[in-house]
Symmetry: C2
Subunit: 332 residues, 2 copies
Protein backbone atom coordinates (compact mmCIF):
# COMPACT_ATOMS: atom_id res chain seq x y z
CA UNK A 1 0.00 0.00 0.00
CA UNK A 2 1.07 3.56 -0.61
CA UNK A 3 0.33 6.72 1.29
CA UNK A 4 1.33 10.37 1.15
CA UNK A 5 2.80 11.91 4.30
CA UNK A 6 3.59 15.50 5.20
CA UNK A 7 7.30 16.04 4.59
CA UNK A 8 7.55 19.82 5.17
CA UNK A 9 5.12 22.45 6.35
CA UNK A 10 4.25 24.45 3.22
CA UNK A 11 5.61 27.97 2.94
CA UNK A 12 2.85 29.74 1.01
CA UNK A 13 1.34 27.65 -1.78
CA UNK A 14 1.69 23.90 -1.16
CA UNK A 15 3.94 22.12 -3.64
CA UNK A 16 4.72 18.51 -4.46
CA UNK A 17 7.91 18.40 -2.40
CA UNK A 18 5.95 19.21 0.77
CA UNK A 19 4.69 15.62 0.61
CA UNK A 20 6.47 12.27 0.45
CA UNK A 21 5.15 8.99 -0.97
CA UNK A 22 5.72 6.02 1.30
CA UNK A 23 5.17 2.30 0.78
CA UNK A 24 4.31 -0.24 3.44
CA UNK A 25 3.23 -3.86 3.13
CA UNK A 26 -0.49 -4.51 3.01
CA UNK A 27 -1.71 -5.27 6.56
CA UNK A 28 -4.11 -8.14 7.29
CA UNK A 29 -7.33 -7.30 9.16
CA UNK A 30 -7.57 -8.64 12.71
CA UNK A 31 -10.76 -9.96 14.22
CA UNK A 32 -13.43 -7.20 14.02
CA UNK A 33 -11.56 -5.33 11.31
CA UNK A 34 -11.71 -5.06 7.54
CA UNK A 35 -9.28 -4.11 4.79
CA UNK A 36 -10.59 -1.31 2.61
CA UNK A 37 -9.31 -0.39 -0.83
CA UNK A 38 -9.71 3.34 -1.33
CA UNK A 39 -11.15 4.28 -4.74
CA UNK A 40 -11.49 8.07 -4.47
CA UNK A 41 -9.81 10.65 -2.27
CA UNK A 42 -11.09 14.23 -2.02
CA UNK A 43 -8.85 17.26 -1.98
CA UNK A 44 -10.17 20.31 -0.19
CA UNK A 45 -8.77 23.85 0.37
CA UNK A 46 -9.73 23.69 4.05
CA UNK A 47 -7.08 21.01 4.53
CA UNK A 48 -4.42 23.66 3.98
CA UNK A 49 -4.69 25.12 7.48
CA UNK A 50 -4.01 21.76 9.14
CA UNK A 51 -0.66 21.64 7.35
CA UNK A 52 0.40 24.86 9.08
CA UNK A 53 -1.19 24.06 12.38
CA UNK A 54 -3.47 27.07 12.83
CA UNK A 55 -6.75 25.21 12.43
CA UNK A 56 -9.49 24.16 14.85
CA UNK A 57 -8.23 20.60 14.55
CA UNK A 58 -4.72 19.93 15.78
CA UNK A 59 -1.99 20.37 13.20
CA UNK A 60 -0.93 17.35 11.20
CA UNK A 61 2.45 16.04 12.35
CA UNK A 62 5.41 15.73 10.01
CA UNK A 63 5.60 12.17 8.68
CA UNK A 64 1.88 11.58 9.24
CA UNK A 65 -0.47 10.53 6.44
CA UNK A 66 -2.38 13.51 5.08
CA UNK A 67 -6.01 13.33 6.15
CA UNK A 68 -8.98 13.54 3.84
CA UNK A 69 -12.33 12.01 3.12
CA UNK A 70 -12.52 9.09 0.70
CA UNK A 71 -14.73 6.43 -0.82
CA UNK A 72 -13.65 2.81 -1.10
CA UNK A 73 -14.80 -0.80 -0.93
CA UNK A 74 -14.23 -3.62 1.50
CA UNK A 75 -11.84 -6.23 0.06
CA UNK A 76 -11.37 -8.50 3.07
CA UNK A 77 -13.46 -8.50 6.20
CA UNK A 78 -13.44 -9.98 9.67
CA UNK A 79 -16.15 -7.50 10.76
CA UNK A 80 -19.92 -8.00 10.51
CA UNK A 81 -20.34 -4.21 10.16
CA UNK A 82 -18.19 -4.05 7.03
CA UNK A 83 -19.28 -6.79 4.61
CA UNK A 84 -16.95 -7.67 1.75
CA UNK A 85 -17.85 -5.74 -1.38
CA UNK A 86 -19.62 -2.94 0.49
CA UNK A 87 -19.01 0.62 -0.66
CA UNK A 88 -17.84 2.72 2.28
CA UNK A 89 -17.08 6.36 3.05
CA UNK A 90 -14.66 7.59 5.71
CA UNK A 91 -11.68 9.75 6.57
CA UNK A 92 -9.13 7.35 5.11
CA UNK A 93 -6.54 9.96 4.19
CA UNK A 94 -4.20 10.05 1.22
CA UNK A 95 -3.75 6.29 1.13
CA UNK A 96 -4.51 3.40 -1.19
CA UNK A 97 -5.70 1.08 1.59
CA UNK A 98 -6.94 1.28 5.15
CA UNK A 99 -7.68 -1.07 8.02
CA UNK A 100 -10.84 -0.18 9.94
CA UNK A 101 -13.00 -1.51 12.76
CA UNK A 102 -15.92 0.47 11.33
CA UNK A 103 -15.72 3.49 13.61
CA UNK A 104 -16.28 6.70 11.66
CA UNK A 105 -17.03 4.67 8.51
CA UNK A 106 -20.36 4.83 6.74
CA UNK A 107 -21.53 1.86 4.64
CA UNK A 108 -23.29 3.49 1.70
CA UNK A 109 -26.84 2.36 1.03
CA UNK A 110 -27.10 1.18 -2.61
CA UNK A 111 -30.71 2.38 -2.61
CA UNK A 112 -29.43 5.95 -2.28
CA UNK A 113 -25.98 5.85 -3.83
CA UNK A 114 -26.86 4.72 -7.32
CA UNK A 115 -28.21 6.33 -10.47
CA UNK A 116 -28.08 10.09 -10.11
CA UNK A 117 -26.29 9.94 -6.76
CA UNK A 118 -22.87 8.33 -7.14
CA UNK A 119 -20.89 7.07 -4.12
CA UNK A 120 -18.53 10.03 -4.47
CA UNK A 121 -21.45 12.33 -3.60
CA UNK A 122 -21.00 11.04 -0.04
CA UNK A 123 -17.81 13.12 0.19
CA UNK A 124 -19.21 16.01 -1.87
CA UNK A 125 -22.72 17.33 -2.13
CA UNK A 126 -23.93 14.91 0.58
CA UNK A 127 -20.73 15.31 2.60
CA UNK A 128 -18.91 18.18 4.21
CA UNK A 129 -19.10 20.66 1.29
CA UNK A 130 -22.83 20.21 0.72
CA UNK A 131 -23.64 20.20 4.42
CA UNK A 132 -21.59 23.37 4.94
CA UNK A 133 -23.64 25.10 2.25
CA UNK A 134 -26.90 23.81 3.73
CA UNK A 135 -26.30 24.79 7.36
CA UNK A 136 -24.34 27.94 6.62
CA UNK A 137 -27.09 29.33 4.45
CA UNK A 138 -30.18 28.10 6.28
CA UNK A 139 -28.93 28.61 9.85
CA UNK A 140 -26.43 31.50 9.92
CA UNK A 141 -27.78 33.18 6.79
CA UNK A 142 -31.34 33.42 8.16
CA UNK A 143 -32.73 33.76 4.62
CA UNK A 144 -36.14 35.23 3.87
CA UNK A 145 -37.77 34.78 0.47
CA UNK A 146 -37.20 37.82 -1.72
CA UNK A 147 -33.82 38.67 -0.24
CA UNK A 148 -30.58 38.84 -2.22
CA UNK A 149 -27.79 36.29 -1.69
CA UNK A 150 -24.22 36.75 -2.90
CA UNK A 151 -21.98 33.65 -3.03
CA UNK A 152 -18.22 33.61 -3.65
CA UNK A 153 -16.44 30.65 -5.23
CA UNK A 154 -19.90 29.95 -6.63
CA UNK A 155 -18.73 27.22 -9.03
CA UNK A 156 -16.99 25.31 -6.22
CA UNK A 157 -18.60 22.43 -4.32
CA UNK A 158 -19.78 24.55 -1.37
CA UNK A 159 -20.71 27.62 -3.37
CA UNK A 160 -22.61 25.76 -6.11
CA UNK A 161 -24.76 24.05 -3.49
CA UNK A 162 -25.38 27.36 -1.70
CA UNK A 163 -26.44 29.00 -5.00
CA UNK A 164 -28.97 26.26 -5.74
CA UNK A 165 -30.39 26.08 -2.21
CA UNK A 166 -30.66 29.88 -2.31
CA UNK A 167 -32.83 29.67 -5.41
CA UNK A 168 -35.04 27.04 -3.72
CA UNK A 169 -35.55 29.44 -0.81
CA UNK A 170 -36.82 32.17 -3.12
CA UNK A 171 -33.71 34.33 -3.01
CA UNK A 172 -32.22 36.40 -5.80
CA UNK A 173 -28.78 34.81 -6.15
CA UNK A 174 -25.57 36.34 -7.50
CA UNK A 175 -22.49 34.15 -7.83
CA UNK A 176 -18.85 35.22 -8.04
CA UNK A 177 -16.45 32.90 -9.87
CA UNK A 178 -13.22 33.10 -11.85
CA UNK A 179 -13.33 32.92 -15.64
CA UNK A 180 -15.96 32.67 -18.35
CA UNK A 181 -16.53 28.91 -18.10
CA UNK A 182 -17.30 29.04 -14.39
CA UNK A 183 -19.52 32.12 -14.59
CA UNK A 184 -21.49 30.51 -17.46
CA UNK A 185 -21.91 27.40 -15.33
CA UNK A 186 -23.14 29.48 -12.37
CA UNK A 187 -25.67 31.31 -14.53
CA UNK A 188 -26.78 28.60 -16.96
CA UNK A 189 -26.51 25.37 -14.98
CA UNK A 190 -26.94 26.53 -11.40
CA UNK A 191 -29.57 29.11 -12.45
CA UNK A 192 -28.12 32.02 -10.52
CA UNK A 193 -29.76 35.33 -11.43
CA UNK A 194 -26.36 36.83 -12.18
CA UNK A 195 -22.72 35.78 -12.18
CA UNK A 196 -19.65 37.97 -11.80
CA UNK A 197 -16.24 37.00 -13.17
CA UNK A 198 -13.91 38.49 -10.57
CA UNK A 199 -10.92 38.07 -12.89
CA UNK A 200 -12.55 40.34 -15.46
CA UNK A 201 -13.46 43.09 -13.00
CA UNK A 202 -11.05 45.79 -11.87
CA UNK A 203 -13.54 47.02 -9.24
CA UNK A 204 -15.40 44.07 -7.76
CA UNK A 205 -17.47 46.24 -5.39
CA UNK A 206 -18.78 48.21 -8.38
CA UNK A 207 -19.54 44.97 -10.26
CA UNK A 208 -21.56 43.68 -7.30
CA UNK A 209 -23.41 46.98 -7.16
CA UNK A 210 -24.36 46.67 -10.83
CA UNK A 211 -25.67 43.14 -10.22
CA UNK A 212 -27.47 44.07 -6.98
CA UNK A 213 -28.28 47.79 -7.14
CA UNK A 214 -30.49 47.57 -4.03
CA UNK A 215 -27.80 45.78 -2.04
CA UNK A 216 -27.11 42.31 -0.67
CA UNK A 217 -28.79 40.72 2.36
CA UNK A 218 -26.61 37.63 2.77
CA UNK A 219 -23.01 37.10 1.70
CA UNK A 220 -21.94 33.45 1.74
CA UNK A 221 -18.16 33.71 1.78
CA UNK A 222 -15.74 31.00 0.71
CA UNK A 223 -12.89 33.34 -0.23
CA UNK A 224 -12.27 36.20 2.22
CA UNK A 225 -9.93 39.14 1.70
CA UNK A 226 -10.75 41.53 -1.14
CA UNK A 227 -13.94 39.70 -2.12
CA UNK A 228 -15.21 39.94 1.45
CA UNK A 229 -14.41 43.67 1.56
CA UNK A 230 -16.25 44.23 -1.73
CA UNK A 231 -19.25 42.35 -0.34
CA UNK A 232 -19.30 44.36 2.90
CA UNK A 233 -19.54 47.58 0.92
CA UNK A 234 -22.65 46.20 -0.80
CA UNK A 235 -24.45 44.74 2.19
CA UNK A 236 -27.76 46.26 3.23
CA UNK A 237 -28.78 47.30 6.71
CA UNK A 238 -28.93 44.13 8.81
CA UNK A 239 -26.86 42.13 6.33
CA UNK A 240 -25.39 38.76 7.32
CA UNK A 241 -22.00 37.32 6.38
CA UNK A 242 -21.59 33.55 6.58
CA UNK A 243 -17.88 32.77 6.87
CA UNK A 244 -17.65 29.32 5.32
CA UNK A 245 -14.11 29.45 3.91
CA UNK A 246 -11.27 31.91 3.41
CA UNK A 247 -9.38 30.31 0.56
CA UNK A 248 -7.58 33.55 -0.36
CA UNK A 249 -6.01 33.57 3.11
CA UNK A 250 -4.82 30.01 3.66
CA UNK A 251 -1.48 30.34 1.90
CA UNK A 252 -0.68 33.92 2.90
CA UNK A 253 2.40 34.42 5.07
CA UNK A 254 0.45 37.16 6.84
CA UNK A 255 -3.34 37.30 6.55
CA UNK A 256 -4.83 40.22 4.62
CA UNK A 257 -8.15 40.27 6.43
CA UNK A 258 -10.64 43.05 5.73
CA UNK A 259 -10.50 46.81 5.79
CA UNK A 260 -14.18 47.55 6.34
CA UNK A 261 -15.25 47.08 9.95
CA UNK A 262 -16.90 50.49 10.47
CA UNK A 263 -19.85 49.45 8.24
CA UNK A 264 -20.62 46.79 10.86
CA UNK A 265 -21.85 49.66 13.03
CA UNK A 266 -23.52 51.86 10.47
CA UNK A 267 -25.25 48.94 8.72
CA UNK A 268 -25.76 46.68 11.79
CA UNK A 269 -23.95 43.82 10.06
CA UNK A 270 -23.38 40.38 11.51
CA UNK A 271 -20.48 38.10 10.51
CA UNK A 272 -20.37 34.55 11.78
CA UNK A 273 -18.24 31.50 11.01
CA UNK A 274 -19.19 27.86 11.07
CA UNK A 275 -17.60 24.48 11.42
CA UNK A 276 -20.12 22.06 10.00
CA UNK A 277 -19.35 19.29 12.51
CA UNK A 278 -21.28 21.36 15.07
CA UNK A 279 -24.44 20.35 13.15
CA UNK A 280 -23.70 16.63 13.24
CA UNK A 281 -27.05 15.74 14.85
CA UNK A 282 -28.87 17.31 11.90
CA UNK A 283 -26.76 15.76 9.12
CA UNK A 284 -29.45 13.16 8.35
CA UNK A 285 -32.12 15.79 7.84
CA UNK A 286 -29.91 17.78 5.48
CA UNK A 287 -28.72 14.74 3.52
CA UNK A 288 -32.29 13.58 2.99
CA UNK A 289 -33.28 17.00 1.67
CA UNK A 290 -30.28 17.27 -0.65
CA UNK A 291 -30.68 13.68 -1.95
CA UNK A 292 -34.33 14.42 -2.69
CA UNK A 293 -33.40 17.49 -4.72
CA UNK A 294 -30.76 15.58 -6.68
CA UNK A 295 -33.20 12.78 -7.47
CA UNK A 296 -35.93 15.12 -8.67
CA UNK A 297 -33.35 16.83 -10.88
CA UNK A 298 -33.53 20.19 -9.15
CA UNK A 299 -30.04 20.22 -7.64
CA UNK A 300 -26.91 19.32 -9.55
CA UNK A 301 -23.34 18.79 -8.55
CA UNK A 302 -20.16 18.66 -10.49
CA UNK A 303 -17.12 16.51 -9.89
CA UNK A 304 -13.74 16.67 -11.50
CA UNK A 305 -11.82 13.40 -11.42
CA UNK A 306 -8.03 13.46 -11.49
CA UNK A 307 -6.72 9.96 -12.27
CA UNK A 308 -3.72 8.60 -10.40
CA UNK A 309 -2.72 8.36 -6.75
CA UNK A 310 0.70 9.83 -7.55
CA UNK A 311 -0.99 13.09 -8.66
CA UNK A 312 -2.57 13.83 -5.27
CA UNK A 313 -0.19 16.60 -4.10
CA UNK A 314 -0.41 18.38 -7.43
CA UNK A 315 -4.22 18.06 -7.49
CA UNK A 316 -4.28 19.64 -4.03
CA UNK A 317 -1.89 22.47 -4.89
CA UNK A 318 -3.94 23.31 -7.99
CA UNK A 319 -6.96 24.16 -5.82
CA UNK A 320 -5.19 27.35 -4.79
CA UNK A 321 -4.64 28.39 -8.38
CA UNK A 322 -8.40 28.12 -8.90
CA UNK A 323 -7.93 25.46 -11.58
CA UNK A 324 -10.51 22.99 -10.27
CA UNK A 325 -14.07 23.19 -11.53
CA UNK A 326 -16.39 21.43 -9.13
CA UNK A 327 -15.49 19.01 -6.38
CA UNK A 328 -12.00 17.68 -7.14
CA UNK A 329 -11.45 13.98 -6.50
CA UNK A 330 -8.45 11.78 -7.17
CA UNK A 331 -9.20 8.31 -8.45
CA UNK A 332 -6.81 5.65 -7.28
Amino acid sequence: MRHWVLAHRPDGLPKGSDFRLERTSLPAPKDGEALIAVDFVSVDPGMRSRLSGDSYAAALGLGETVESAGVGHVVESRSARLPEGATVMGGFGWTTHAISDGRGIQVLDPAIFSGRITPTASIGVLGIPGLTAYFGLTDLGRPKAGETLLVSSAAGPVGATAVQIGKKLGLTVIGIAGGAAKTSYVRDDLKADAAIDYRAESDLAAAIKRAAPDGVDIYFDNVGGEQLDAAILNLKQGGRIVVSGQVSEYNAAAPRGIRWVTPFITKRLRMEGLVVYDYRKRFGEAQAAIAGWINDGSLSYREEIVAGFERLPEAFAGLFRGENFGRRLVRI
Copy 2:
Protein backbone atom coordinates in the same frame (compact mmCIF):
# COMPACT_ATOMS: atom_id res chain seq x y z
CA MET B 1 -26.37 83.57 19.74
CA ARG B 2 -23.31 81.75 18.52
CA HIS B 3 -22.93 78.43 16.77
CA TRP B 4 -20.15 76.38 15.24
CA VAL B 5 -20.59 75.28 11.63
CA LEU B 6 -18.62 72.84 9.51
CA ALA B 7 -16.19 74.88 7.39
CA HIS B 8 -14.16 72.07 5.79
CA ARG B 9 -14.44 68.30 5.82
CA PRO B 10 -11.56 67.15 8.06
CA ASP B 11 -8.60 65.45 6.41
CA GLY B 12 -7.50 62.98 9.08
CA LEU B 13 -7.66 64.37 12.62
CA PRO B 14 -10.20 67.18 12.97
CA LYS B 15 -8.67 70.56 13.75
CA GLY B 16 -9.98 73.97 14.82
CA SER B 17 -9.96 75.41 11.31
CA ASP B 18 -12.41 72.73 10.12
CA PHE B 19 -15.08 74.69 12.02
CA ARG B 20 -16.22 78.30 11.89
CA LEU B 21 -17.91 80.32 14.64
CA GLU B 22 -20.96 82.24 13.47
CA ARG B 23 -23.13 84.81 15.20
CA THR B 24 -26.80 85.42 14.55
CA SER B 25 -29.32 87.50 16.44
CA LEU B 26 -31.32 85.75 19.12
CA PRO B 27 -34.63 84.59 17.62
CA ALA B 28 -37.93 85.06 19.43
CA PRO B 29 -40.10 81.96 19.96
CA LYS B 30 -43.34 81.83 17.99
CA ASP B 31 -46.56 80.44 19.33
CA GLY B 32 -45.96 76.84 20.46
CA GLU B 33 -42.20 77.33 20.67
CA ALA B 34 -39.65 78.09 23.37
CA LEU B 35 -36.19 79.61 23.48
CA ILE B 36 -33.65 77.33 25.12
CA ALA B 37 -30.27 78.38 26.47
CA VAL B 38 -27.85 75.50 26.08
CA ASP B 39 -25.70 74.86 29.17
CA PHE B 40 -23.70 71.77 28.18
CA VAL B 41 -22.79 70.29 24.83
CA SER B 42 -21.34 66.79 24.52
CA VAL B 43 -18.48 65.89 22.19
CA ASP B 44 -18.39 62.34 20.97
CA PRO B 45 -15.97 60.42 18.68
CA GLY B 46 -18.90 58.94 16.76
CA MET B 47 -19.63 62.42 15.41
CA ARG B 48 -16.46 62.24 13.34
CA SER B 49 -17.95 60.02 10.66
CA ARG B 50 -20.77 62.49 9.95
CA LEU B 51 -18.18 65.11 9.08
CA SER B 52 -16.85 62.89 6.27
CA GLY B 53 -20.19 61.59 5.19
CA ASP B 54 -19.69 57.83 5.55
CA SER B 55 -22.04 57.35 8.49
CA TYR B 56 -25.48 55.78 8.82
CA ALA B 57 -26.89 59.28 9.17
CA ALA B 58 -26.53 61.57 6.18
CA ALA B 59 -23.35 63.64 6.11
CA LEU B 60 -23.43 67.07 7.69
CA GLY B 61 -23.45 69.78 5.03
CA LEU B 62 -20.77 72.47 4.85
CA GLY B 63 -22.00 75.59 6.65
CA GLU B 64 -24.40 73.58 8.83
CA THR B 65 -24.29 73.70 12.62
CA VAL B 66 -22.45 70.70 14.02
CA GLU B 67 -24.90 68.32 15.65
CA SER B 68 -24.61 66.97 19.17
CA ALA B 69 -26.60 66.28 22.28
CA GLY B 70 -26.91 68.97 24.91
CA VAL B 71 -28.55 70.02 28.14
CA GLY B 72 -30.11 73.44 28.63
CA HIS B 73 -32.93 75.35 30.22
CA VAL B 74 -36.01 77.11 28.89
CA VAL B 75 -35.58 80.90 29.07
CA GLU B 76 -38.71 82.07 27.27
CA SER B 77 -41.70 79.92 26.39
CA ARG B 78 -44.83 80.07 24.33
CA SER B 79 -45.24 76.28 24.62
CA ALA B 80 -47.09 74.41 27.38
CA ARG B 81 -44.74 71.44 26.89
CA LEU B 82 -41.64 73.49 27.66
CA PRO B 83 -42.24 75.52 30.83
CA GLU B 84 -39.87 78.38 31.59
CA GLY B 85 -37.06 77.28 33.88
CA ALA B 86 -37.36 73.61 32.94
CA THR B 87 -34.14 71.64 32.38
CA VAL B 88 -34.23 70.01 28.97
CA MET B 89 -32.16 67.56 26.94
CA GLY B 90 -32.02 67.41 23.15
CA GLY B 91 -29.92 67.37 20.02
CA PHE B 92 -29.28 71.12 20.03
CA GLY B 93 -25.90 71.01 18.31
CA TRP B 94 -22.89 73.21 18.87
CA THR B 95 -24.94 76.28 19.67
CA THR B 96 -25.56 78.60 22.58
CA HIS B 97 -29.32 78.82 22.01
CA ALA B 98 -32.06 76.96 20.24
CA ILE B 99 -35.69 77.46 19.32
CA SER B 100 -37.82 74.35 19.78
CA ASP B 101 -41.43 73.24 19.52
CA GLY B 102 -40.63 70.39 21.90
CA ARG B 103 -40.16 67.62 19.33
CA GLY B 104 -37.18 65.43 20.22
CA ILE B 105 -36.72 67.35 23.47
CA GLN B 106 -36.97 65.66 26.87
CA VAL B 107 -37.96 67.74 29.91
CA LEU B 108 -35.84 66.26 32.70
CA ASP B 109 -37.73 65.11 35.80
CA PRO B 110 -36.20 66.81 38.86
CA ALA B 111 -37.11 63.72 40.89
CA ILE B 112 -34.56 61.75 38.86
CA PHE B 113 -32.05 64.36 37.75
CA SER B 114 -30.88 65.61 41.10
CA GLY B 115 -28.45 64.45 43.77
CA ARG B 116 -26.31 61.63 42.39
CA ILE B 117 -27.79 61.96 38.91
CA THR B 118 -26.98 65.32 37.39
CA PRO B 119 -28.80 66.66 34.31
CA THR B 120 -25.69 66.02 32.22
CA ALA B 121 -26.18 62.28 32.87
CA SER B 122 -29.07 62.53 30.40
CA ILE B 123 -26.51 62.88 27.60
CA GLY B 124 -24.03 60.44 29.18
CA VAL B 125 -24.66 57.38 31.28
CA LEU B 126 -28.44 57.71 30.80
CA GLY B 127 -28.06 58.83 27.19
CA ILE B 128 -26.54 57.36 24.07
CA PRO B 129 -23.21 56.20 25.60
CA GLY B 130 -24.80 54.41 28.55
CA LEU B 131 -27.58 52.92 26.45
CA THR B 132 -25.05 51.69 23.88
CA ALA B 133 -23.19 49.87 26.64
CA TYR B 134 -26.40 48.43 28.05
CA PHE B 135 -27.90 47.09 24.81
CA GLY B 136 -24.61 46.14 23.20
CA LEU B 137 -23.59 44.03 26.15
CA THR B 138 -26.91 42.55 27.20
CA ASP B 139 -28.36 41.97 23.72
CA LEU B 140 -25.52 41.34 21.25
CA GLY B 141 -23.07 40.11 23.89
CA ARG B 142 -25.42 37.38 25.16
CA PRO B 143 -23.56 37.23 28.48
CA LYS B 144 -23.73 34.27 30.82
CA ALA B 145 -22.52 34.54 34.42
CA GLY B 146 -19.00 33.22 34.79
CA GLU B 147 -17.89 34.26 31.31
CA THR B 148 -15.04 36.64 30.56
CA LEU B 149 -15.67 40.09 29.08
CA LEU B 150 -12.98 42.28 27.49
CA VAL B 151 -13.77 45.99 26.98
CA SER B 152 -11.69 48.48 25.00
CA SER B 153 -11.66 52.20 25.80
CA ALA B 154 -12.75 51.00 29.22
CA ALA B 155 -12.34 54.38 30.90
CA GLY B 156 -14.54 56.10 28.32
CA PRO B 157 -18.25 56.72 28.77
CA VAL B 158 -19.42 53.64 26.87
CA GLY B 159 -16.65 51.32 28.07
CA ALA B 160 -16.88 52.30 31.74
CA THR B 161 -20.60 51.53 31.74
CA ALA B 162 -20.02 48.20 29.96
CA VAL B 163 -17.36 47.24 32.54
CA GLN B 164 -19.70 47.92 35.46
CA ILE B 165 -22.76 46.24 33.93
CA GLY B 166 -20.51 43.27 33.12
CA LYS B 167 -19.59 42.93 36.80
CA LYS B 168 -23.28 43.09 37.74
CA LEU B 169 -23.96 40.20 35.35
CA GLY B 170 -21.36 38.04 37.08
CA LEU B 171 -18.70 38.30 34.38
CA THR B 172 -14.95 38.43 34.83
CA VAL B 173 -14.12 41.80 33.30
CA ILE B 174 -10.86 43.00 31.75
CA GLY B 175 -10.57 46.60 30.61
CA ILE B 176 -8.14 48.09 28.09
CA ALA B 177 -7.27 51.78 28.47
CA GLY B 178 -4.42 54.15 27.70
CA GLY B 179 -2.12 55.26 30.54
CA ALA B 180 -1.70 54.56 34.23
CA ALA B 181 -4.41 56.94 35.46
CA LYS B 182 -7.09 55.35 33.29
CA THR B 183 -6.09 51.77 34.02
CA SER B 184 -6.11 52.53 37.77
CA TYR B 185 -9.58 54.01 37.38
CA VAL B 186 -10.79 50.91 35.52
CA ARG B 187 -9.42 48.58 38.19
CA ASP B 188 -10.00 50.59 41.37
CA ASP B 189 -13.12 52.61 40.66
CA LEU B 190 -14.95 50.51 38.09
CA LYS B 191 -13.87 47.28 39.83
CA ALA B 192 -12.69 45.46 36.73
CA ASP B 193 -10.83 42.25 37.54
CA ALA B 194 -7.86 43.43 35.46
CA ALA B 195 -6.86 46.44 33.39
CA ILE B 196 -4.38 46.58 30.54
CA ASP B 197 -2.53 49.77 29.56
CA TYR B 198 -2.25 49.36 25.80
CA ARG B 199 0.34 52.15 25.63
CA ALA B 200 2.67 50.17 27.88
CA GLU B 201 2.34 46.89 25.98
CA SER B 202 4.34 46.05 22.87
CA ASP B 203 2.25 42.90 22.31
CA LEU B 204 -1.36 43.55 23.25
CA ALA B 205 -2.50 40.02 22.32
CA ALA B 206 0.05 38.58 24.76
CA ALA B 207 -1.06 41.02 27.47
CA ILE B 208 -4.68 39.95 27.03
CA LYS B 209 -3.61 36.32 27.22
CA ARG B 210 -1.85 36.96 30.53
CA ALA B 211 -4.99 38.63 31.91
CA ALA B 212 -7.34 35.95 30.51
CA PRO B 213 -5.33 32.73 30.15
CA ASP B 214 -8.49 30.70 29.43
CA GLY B 215 -9.65 33.14 26.77
CA VAL B 216 -12.34 35.76 26.28
CA ASP B 217 -16.05 35.10 25.65
CA ILE B 218 -17.20 38.61 24.78
CA TYR B 219 -15.21 41.51 23.36
CA PHE B 220 -16.97 44.85 23.62
CA ASP B 221 -15.14 46.97 21.08
CA ASN B 222 -14.98 50.76 21.01
CA VAL B 223 -11.65 51.01 19.20
CA GLY B 224 -11.21 48.60 16.27
CA GLY B 225 -8.01 48.00 14.33
CA GLU B 226 -5.08 46.50 16.23
CA GLN B 227 -7.02 46.16 19.48
CA LEU B 228 -9.77 44.23 17.70
CA ASP B 229 -7.20 41.93 16.09
CA ALA B 230 -5.56 41.27 19.46
CA ALA B 231 -8.97 40.45 20.95
CA ILE B 232 -9.88 38.05 18.11
CA LEU B 233 -6.72 36.05 18.80
CA ASN B 234 -7.85 35.64 22.42
CA LEU B 235 -11.50 34.80 21.85
CA LYS B 236 -12.76 31.37 22.85
CA GLN B 237 -14.84 29.03 20.75
CA GLY B 238 -18.20 30.72 20.22
CA GLY B 239 -16.87 34.15 21.17
CA ARG B 240 -18.92 37.28 20.46
CA ILE B 241 -17.65 40.68 19.30
CA VAL B 242 -19.89 43.68 19.93
CA VAL B 243 -18.88 46.46 17.53
CA SER B 244 -19.87 49.59 19.43
CA GLY B 245 -17.26 52.02 18.11
CA GLN B 246 -14.14 52.07 15.95
CA VAL B 247 -12.41 55.20 17.19
CA SER B 248 -9.04 54.15 15.78
CA GLU B 249 -10.56 54.16 12.29
CA TYR B 250 -12.55 57.36 12.11
CA ASN B 251 -9.69 59.66 11.11
CA ALA B 252 -7.80 57.22 8.91
CA ALA B 253 -7.52 58.14 5.23
CA ALA B 254 -7.86 54.42 4.49
CA PRO B 255 -9.29 52.07 7.11
CA ARG B 256 -6.92 49.53 8.66
CA GLY B 257 -9.58 46.96 9.49
CA ILE B 258 -8.57 43.56 10.85
CA ARG B 259 -6.23 40.83 9.70
CA TRP B 260 -7.82 37.88 11.48
CA VAL B 261 -10.92 36.59 9.73
CA THR B 262 -9.92 32.90 9.50
CA PRO B 263 -10.47 32.48 13.29
CA PHE B 264 -14.14 33.27 12.65
CA ILE B 265 -14.35 29.80 11.13
CA THR B 266 -12.10 27.83 13.44
CA LYS B 267 -13.54 29.43 16.60
CA ARG B 268 -17.13 29.95 15.35
CA LEU B 269 -16.95 33.66 16.19
CA ARG B 270 -19.72 36.17 15.72
CA MET B 271 -19.16 39.90 15.17
CA GLU B 272 -22.09 42.27 15.17
CA GLY B 273 -22.48 46.03 15.17
CA LEU B 274 -25.19 48.15 16.73
CA VAL B 275 -26.76 51.54 16.38
CA VAL B 276 -28.46 52.19 19.69
CA TYR B 277 -31.42 54.02 18.15
CA ASP B 278 -32.71 50.61 17.01
CA TYR B 279 -33.52 49.95 20.70
CA ARG B 280 -35.51 53.14 21.16
CA LYS B 281 -38.61 51.32 22.44
CA ARG B 282 -36.57 49.84 25.28
CA PHE B 283 -34.75 53.03 26.33
CA GLY B 284 -37.07 53.52 29.32
CA GLU B 285 -36.34 50.07 30.71
CA ALA B 286 -32.58 50.58 30.40
CA GLN B 287 -32.62 54.11 31.85
CA ALA B 288 -34.63 52.92 34.88
CA ALA B 289 -32.12 50.13 35.51
CA ILE B 290 -29.09 52.40 35.15
CA ALA B 291 -30.63 55.18 37.31
CA GLY B 292 -31.35 52.60 40.01
CA TRP B 293 -27.73 51.44 40.00
CA ILE B 294 -26.43 55.00 40.20
CA ASN B 295 -28.74 55.81 43.11
CA ASP B 296 -27.77 52.72 45.09
CA GLY B 297 -24.12 53.65 44.53
CA SER B 298 -23.27 50.55 42.49
CA LEU B 299 -22.65 52.27 39.15
CA SER B 300 -20.54 55.37 38.74
CA TYR B 301 -19.89 57.68 35.84
CA ARG B 302 -17.26 60.25 35.20
CA GLU B 303 -17.58 63.54 33.39
CA GLU B 304 -14.91 65.93 32.29
CA ILE B 305 -16.08 69.50 31.88
CA VAL B 306 -14.30 71.81 29.47
CA ALA B 307 -15.32 75.42 30.13
CA GLY B 308 -16.04 77.74 27.22
CA PHE B 309 -18.09 77.52 24.07
CA GLU B 310 -15.13 78.75 22.01
CA ARG B 311 -13.17 75.62 22.98
CA LEU B 312 -15.64 73.19 21.41
CA PRO B 313 -13.62 72.26 18.26
CA GLU B 314 -10.47 71.71 20.29
CA ALA B 315 -12.33 69.66 22.90
CA PHE B 316 -13.65 67.48 20.07
CA ALA B 317 -10.27 67.08 18.36
CA GLY B 318 -8.68 66.05 21.66
CA LEU B 319 -10.93 62.97 21.83
CA PHE B 320 -8.85 61.41 19.07
CA ARG B 321 -5.63 61.95 20.99
CA GLY B 322 -7.16 59.99 23.87
CA GLU B 323 -6.85 62.99 26.19
CA ASN B 324 -10.38 62.87 27.61
CA PHE B 325 -11.05 60.89 30.76
CA GLY B 326 -14.76 60.13 31.06
CA ARG B 327 -17.58 61.75 29.17
CA ARG B 328 -16.33 65.06 27.80
CA LEU B 329 -18.76 67.97 28.00
CA VAL B 330 -18.32 71.61 27.12
CA ARG B 331 -19.95 74.10 29.46
CA ILE B 332 -21.27 77.22 27.80
